[in-house]
């Protein structure tokens, strides 16, 4: 019986290989192999030790037998994420085709690991990389790892909304001219708020200067599938992109994709990924990527059409409530807001006298509604593949109620301003330097050796190697007082901060 099973398994793999010559987006090779594997009832004398859940009945009862029974280890019939040759490779080829990339890597360490692998693939110690300051912490973490030096392009700021926008073409050109030795330009496509820079133009400028163009597409998976969306990194000709499939794409948390263009050596990228990625890639995560990619390729267009319709409806309704400003494509200005992602439902709250974080807390504490984040002046509700109209009606009504019950005079509310950083030394030097802990208020003028950020959105207020200023301290104190979750420093209370000794 066992022999027969192995024979049929081998046969099954051969069939898959033949079929996969012609890519078919309705296939999901990892998912299919796992189903096949389950049917074969192979006896496990390998890891994981829970052995299809039998060894951990409470976990099995909680997550379900279906789920734990495919929590298995790499093996020939299921391929190996570190060196894919069969079903994982086919899944990657299908993903590459679906996203218009030369190669796609399945990632199981979150988009953080995709962003870091992307940067480590093109930057070495001492290399310069041009990037906007409103990047995710994972970008600067990558610089700590590899020792590259950030050249910040100050993003434009919308003074009314208090949010950082995209990079202006002229500013990118200036940075490139001032740092012709930089190796890459990194672009947020889009920002957390859905704002896009002129990616095609920036790709062109970078390539003409002999630099790579990298895109953080943590919030842009749907650009590859929806209609009338901002341009995706691969379509714009970017060299690499980190895509959070688990955000708008519907896969499980922590699963992600790294895409590469034609001029990137995919073998080298694989080596970089394997420096830090687990050798026990989770099949729950990989199958979720495989199934989600299939779903997006086959149905993405209708799905995101509906998401856009819902977001547009919610914007109209929220703006009709009064006091709030749910912003949209009217912001587009051809440069620092080159395009806007209509699926993002961001709402400016300052005019009702409440900080975004206060509205965020009220929605959860009073109305049992959890949104993505609130910052000083805005909230963001994340709409996706899984939303329904009846919940949107709740969100809009709850906002109307918050206005009726809690509206205040907006006098005295801090407007979120862009705090231009002064980079004194590289993030890596600062991170590993001798340091001392000082009270926050006494740190003005010192060089910070750690991160301070509100999470979410996880965009650093201070990054390692930057000068602490009075304005920055005031901002941190204000965000803490309003109830933002602050993360980054060693001191969890954020009373003290590590600075260079």
């Amino acid at each position: 019986m066992r022999k027969l099973c192995l024979c049929s398994l081998r046969f099954f793999r051969e069939v898959q290989k033949v079929e996969s010559k012609i890519l078919n987006q309705s296939r999901a090779p990892i998912y299919e192999a796992l189903q096949m594997f389950r049917e074969m009832r192979v006896v496990p004398f390998d890891v994981p030790g829970h052995k299809r859940g039998r060894g951990n009945p409470e976990l099995t009862a909680f997550l379900g037998e279906q789920c734990v029974s495919i929590d298995v280890n790499s093996m020939k019939p299921l391929d190996n994420l570190c060196h894919p040759v069969s079903v994982i490779r086919e899944a990657e080829e299908l993903a590459a085709e679906a996203f218009g990339a030369a190669h796609a890597f399945l990632m199981v360490g979150g988009t953080t690991s995709a962003v870091q692998s992307m940067i480590l693939s093109v930057c070495k110690r001492g290399d310069k990389i041009i990037l906007p300051r409103n990047v995710h912490r994972s970008v600067i973490n990558a610089l700590v790892l590899c020792g590259a030096i950030p050249v910040y392009v100050n993003p434009e700021v919308d003074v009314k909304l208090g949010i950082s926008l995209g990079m202006k073409r002229e500013q990118v050109a200036k940075a490139i001219a001032a740092h012709p030795d930089a190796v890459a330009v990194l672009v947020n496509n889009p920002t957390y708020y859905g704002i896009c820079s002129d990616l095609k133009a920036i790709v062109g400028m970078a390539h003409r200067a002999g630099m790579y163009c990298l895109a953080d597409e943590a919030h842009g998976t749907h650009f590859y599938f929806g209609e009338n969306m901002p341009v995706s990194a691969m379509a714009a000709g970017a060299d690499m992109a980190a895509v959070s499939m688990h955000k708008s794409g519907g896969s499980l948390t922590q699963s992600s994709l790294l895409l590469t263009g034609p001029d990137i050596n995919s073998g080298y990228v694989r080596q970089i990924i394997n420096l830090t990625q687990t050798t026990s890639g989770s099949y729950l995560l990989m199958s979720s990527l495989d199934i989600s990619r299939r779903n997006l390729a086959l149905k993405g267009r209708q799905v995101f059409k509906r998401v856009v319709e819902m977001a547009n409806y919610a914007r109209e309704e929220i703006n009709a409530v009064g006091g709030y400003y749910a912003f949209g494509r009217e912001l587009i200005n051809g440069d620092s807001i080159f395009d806007f992602d209509s699926t993002k439902l961001s709402v400016h709250t300052r005019d009702i006298g409440l900080a975004g974080i206060e509205v965020y807390d009220l929605l959860r504490d009073e109305y049992d509604i959890q949104i993505e984040f609130g910052d000083i002046g805005n909230i963001l509700a994340y709409l996706s593949i899984g939303d329904r109209m009846q919940e949107l009606e709740r969100l809009v009504s709850a906002l109307a109620e918050i206005r009726r019950r809690y509206q205040k005079d907006s006098y005295g509310l801090l407007s979120q301003e862009y705090l231009a950083p002064e980079v004194v030394i590289s993030p890596q030097q600062a991170f590993y330097a001798n340091k001392k802990s000082v009270p926050l208020k006494d740190s003005i003028g010192c060089v910070c050796s750690e991160f301070i950020m509100c999470y979410p959105p996880g965009i650093p207020i201070l990054a390692p190697g930057e000068r602490v200023t009075g304005e920055i301290i005031q901002y941190i104190e204000y965000a803490k007082a309003k109830g933002c979750s602050m993360t980054g420093p060693e001191d969890p209370e954020i009373e003290n901060i590590n600075v260079l000794a």
């Binding site: 309704e317 409530v321 009073e366 109305y367 049992d368 109209m389 009846q390 919940e391 009606e393 709740r394 809009v396 009504s397 709850a398 109307a400 109620e401 009726r404 019950r405």
Partner: protein, 283 residues
């Protein structure tokens, strides 16, 4: 052949009704709608497999959710009814000549259509000239209202289905905002008996208490609902359901009822000890 319709009243409790014929079955845009003909309860309307009403006992629900507020507030002219697509509540309301306008907001047009055909006794006043039907989400409809109504009757299915949003703080808030300064909201408040229902009832009671200055709970015995024991919420900006109750005034109207009486009105607000404690915990 034996044909039975069964409904879970709790995970380990089932309530079954013998069925003569399955008259209607359709999956609408919102829910599964079924009508059965049964020997004991007459026609039964079920939404997503849960009994919404039966011909035999609907009078209890429709009378108790209508006449209690109508006998407290002396001057109800504009009424908003949410859900209640079968028409039973509307049928009771139109008996009051002083009511000038009854707006009915129902999400699912199919429910109204089905009831017109299969439950004509309930739906008989749906074409009354004072009744205006709006097919809309009630949260959306209410957001556009401010001090427009004297009475809002919230007649919905349970808080676990598509109408979960009608048991939330934001919903009670927009109702409050849509009522005049002496307005009343009455809602079906579920059952306090089985744990699942009791937890939901406490949650919604807590939300109503924190929205309206006056909030009381009253009860009725309804055989086909979970545990046969049902609660209603009386929430009000000004009138107390007993202190401001005017029995003589209501008696003078000469309305004939099958469940509601002015003595029962007062009695229905007297609750068993376990329920009093349960409510107190969240007040």
């Amino acid at each position: 052949m034996e044909l039975w319709f069964s409904e879970f009243h709790a995970p380990d409790v089932k309530h079954s009704i013998r069925v003569n014929r399955h008259l209607y079955s359709k999956k609408s845009s919102y829910q599964q709608i079924d009508v059965f003909d049964t020997p004991e309860f007459g026609r039964v309307l079920a939404l997503d497999g849960n009994v919404l009403l039966t011909e035999r006992d609907e009078f209890i629900y429709d009378e108790m959710i209508t006449h209690v507020p109508m006998s407290v507030h002396p001057d109800i002219r504009d009424v908003l009814v949410i859900g209640a697509g079968d028409g039973g509540v509307v049928r009771e309301l139109v008996r009051y000549k002083t009511i000038e306008k009854i707006d009915l907001v129902e999400m699912d047009p199919d429910v109204i259509d089905v009831c017109r055909v299969y439950l004509p006794e309930n739906a008989r006043e749906m074409d009354n000239e004072r009744v205006h039907i709006y097919y809309d989400n009630a949260l959306r409809f209410l957001r556009r209202c401010h001090a427009n109504y004297d009475l809002i009757i919230v007649d919905t299915t349970d808080p676990f289905g598509p109408l979960e949003g009608y048991f939330t703080r934001e919903f009670y808030g927009v109702c409050y905002n849509a009522l005049r300064d002496d307005g009343i909201m009455v809602n079906q408040q579920g059952s306090p008996f089985y744990k699942h229902d009791a937890d939901a009832m406490r949650r919604s009671h807590h939300r109503i208490v924190s929205t309206f200055p006056i909030s009381r709970v009253y009860q009725a015995h309804i055989p086909t609902y979970a545990a046969g024991y049902w609660l209603f919420g009386f929430a009000s900006k000004k009138y107390h359901p007993i202190d401001d109750f005017r029995a003589d005034r209501w008696e003078a109207l000469g309305l004939t009822t099958n469940y509601y009486t002015t003595r029962l009105h007062i009695g229905s607000f007297y609750l068993p000890a376990f329920l009093e404690r349960m409510l107190k915990e969240v007040e």
